[in-house]
Amino acid sequence: MGVIELDGLTKDYGDVLANDDVSFTVETGEIFGYLGPNGAGKTTTIRTLLGLLEPTSGTATVLGADVHDEGALIDAKQRIGYLPAHLGFNEEVTGADVLDYHASVKGGDRRDELLNIFTPPVERPIREYSSGNKRMLGIIQAFMHDPELVIMDEPTSGLDPLKQEEFNEFVRNECERGKTLFFSSHVLSEVRRVCDRVGILRDGKLVGLEDIETLMDQGGKRVRLRTTDEARTELAALDGVSDVQTFADGIQFIYTGEYNTLLRELATHDVREIDISEPPLEDVFMHYYGSAGAGESNQGVHSDA
């Protein structure tokens, strides 16, 4: 049985279909990334899992508790940590007060350990906090009672790159300790470094559910080389070549075809310089979103699906 199971989860706000028949399972001990652009419905799914929203149809379970069953969900919440996207701390009290309060309700065995990694100024009132400090305080409260499952909505937004890296390392360690982590993100490059598996949401529909490696494989390779004009035209016409960009004496494209075919073709040309690398995850993502500029979703077209 999965730690999180969604079965045909649908949330209809009337004007927007925020979640449309979403089904997937998150297994024990995995880091699951929930990807999608802003407004795709990620937060709706997360808030439904926590019992804040009532699904229009379909259902979901968290640690075996049905989201319709408040009693069961309350028991499960003792073993869940939650980091919301918007942290509504009481602005007037200090960070230490917030943590004391959270510890009194759900426990805080790991508080000191976490304060060594994430360093919000706990003696200062929350109203003086930067968004990064608030985020760190949020991460501490989500993990301090050592829950089995931690659900995080955009956990790294507001963190500086150094803290983001520490967060990534922390998350990998937590996973090795057997925790299950579920987080949403629209920043793709960061997901790739920590996630085992991703679900991709677009306009409320789950459009992809892949191992991160498969996702990267499907994204192909980015090939960049300096060569002759004639070679450029021939390469661009090759099967599996897309997203071609030409410049002065070179060409760059994404290659998703057979490697041998590409290498044989290259061998017939005069290649002066070549660089084959992984494409940025944004490009991989585009593959799921369809053609160029697909980052912007067109709500009207899809909401009636």
Partner: protein, 245 residues
């Protein structure tokens, strides 16, 4: 706390003011006031300390001022937590929604009781200080009977608070509603065919001035207030239970 001090200072001013002025002058004022206003402001026997306090403090401050204040502050409780995303974190705790709502409401009961105890004591002390007398039992009763009334006001605010997403909207609605209920109750008292309207207003069931003057009150009125309070609390529970956050 600040409210308690503020109200106490107001009581001090009113009591001191009473000591300055000739009592018979007030009786004339009371007679010159139209009956509808006498009804609204509880100005009946303004010439005695009991009547004076009943009109100036208990009708103005308790019935109108504190009624509106507790409805207003209750209205902000849940709505502001939802508006500031605080509710997300609170409901991630292993607590039920009904428990959360009860705790929020309970947090208002202590200041409500404290205010009555402190201001009641201050008032008694001040009355003695200016050389007047007042029956302490009547004073205690006036405060005690105000508690069910103020609970109803707070419960009205709570219902508004769980209905609305924005604190400012809930708070304004609470102030407006309480004020209208009070006005309606005072205004229709004189008009026979609309007199039934006064029964929907909680202000109809708490009359501090007669309690202060001769200790008369209706047990039934307090019973109705308590029943209304419980009913409103149940309504807010049901609404809060079912809503999306």
């Amino acid at each position: 706390m600040i409210l308690t001090i503020g109200v106490s200072l107001y009581v001090a001013f009113i009591v001191w003011y009473f000591s300055l002025v000739d009592a018979s002058a007030y009786a004339q004022i009371a007679e010159s006031v139209p009956p509808a206003m006498r009804e609204a402001f509880g100005i009946q026997t303004i010439g005695t300390i009991e009547g004076w306090l009943g009109g100036q403090i208990y009708t103005f401050v308790w019935l109108v001022g504190l009624g509106i204040y507790f409805a207003y502050s209750a209205a902000g409780k849940i709505a502001s937590d939802i508006e500031n995303d605080r509710m997300d974190l609170l409901l991630s705790f292993p607590v039920s929604r009904s428990q959360l709502l009860l705790e929020k409401f309970a947090s208002m009961v202590l200041p409500l009781v404290l205010l009555n105890v402190v201001v009641g004591g201050v008032t008694y002390g001040l009355v003695l200080a200016i050389g007047e007398t007042i029956d302490p039992m009547h004073l205690v009763l006036a405060h005690l009977l105000s508690i069910p009334y103020l609970l109803v006001c707070a419960a009205i605010g709570t219902v508004l608070s769980v209905l609305v997403n924005r604190a400012a909207v809930a708070e304004r609605a609470a102030i407006g509603l309480m004020f209208v209920l009070w006005l309606v109750e005072s205004a229709v008292g004189a008009a026979e065919e609309f007199s039934w309207i006064q029964y929907i207003s909680p202000t109809h069931y708490y009359s501090p001035t007669p309690v202060l003057i001769d200790g008369t009150y209706e047990v039934m009125d307090s019973g109705i207030l308590l029943a209304g309070f419980l009913g409103l609390l149940i309504v807010s529970q049901v609404l809060f239970q079912r809503r999306d956050i």
